[in-house]
Point group: C2
Chain length 97, copies 2
DNA sequence: TATATAGTTAGAATAATGTCTAAATATCTA
DNA sequence: TAGATATTTAGACATTATTCTAACTATATA
């Protein structure tokens, strides 16, 4: 179960949501991700670290590159949060925060 | 279709998410909502205005009170945003922002 | 080992957010 | 109309976020 506050805060930024969207097509290096934005690498690095803290993405080093990929399980958890509101009661959703 | 940036920003605050949660049990006045929090009424009023701008809630005046209620349709839209990531492609979800 | 490449960390500037108090608006009732 | 109640608006202040440049770390390769 995620810490919803971290998750929602991570999702509240447009750049970060676009990063997540980009990662849907598969693993990408930090540099490749940064190339998609009109923003410096350190700024993108910061956004990646926030997404990682929220457990929305994972990283692994491959040589000189650090490869980032999507963690779909947390998306499922957050969807559960929404399901609650709609009264659809999915599998194992409890109250959350 | 909601402006996801506004929606996610609205959802990124703990107090606002709790307000939404409270409203699940039905319409409530601004004062009743404020009573659930250790925070001044103006602060709650501000949170309500952000939720309203994001179209997550609606309001109507009833005498001296202003009654707030949940707009479930926007929750459904946002859920669609998540569905995209999980590749479940619900009814009429397009790319979004 | 020295140099280049990829990425992060540190620190600062600026903008945005959340909270408060005080004042304003709207409605009700005597 | 005057006063009470419910709520919002305005303005100030502190905290948090976002972004940048400069410096640092880690890996690869000549």
């Amino acid at each position: 179960m995620p810490l919803y506050n971290e998750t929602f805060k991570a999702l509240s930024d447009k750049t970060r949501r676009q990063i997540l969207r980009d990662l849907r097509s598969g693993e990408m290096s930090a540099g490749e991700i940064a190339d998609h934005f009109d923003m410096t690498k350190p700024s993108i690095s910061h956004h990646l670290s926030i997404l990682k803290q929220a457990d929305l993405i994972s990283d692994r080093r491959q040589g000189q590159n650090i490869m980032y990929s999507l963690n779909t399980s947390v998306f499922e958890d957050v969807m559960g949060w929404f399901m609650e509101f709609l009264g659809k009661a999915p599998n194992d959703i409890t109250k959350g925060e």
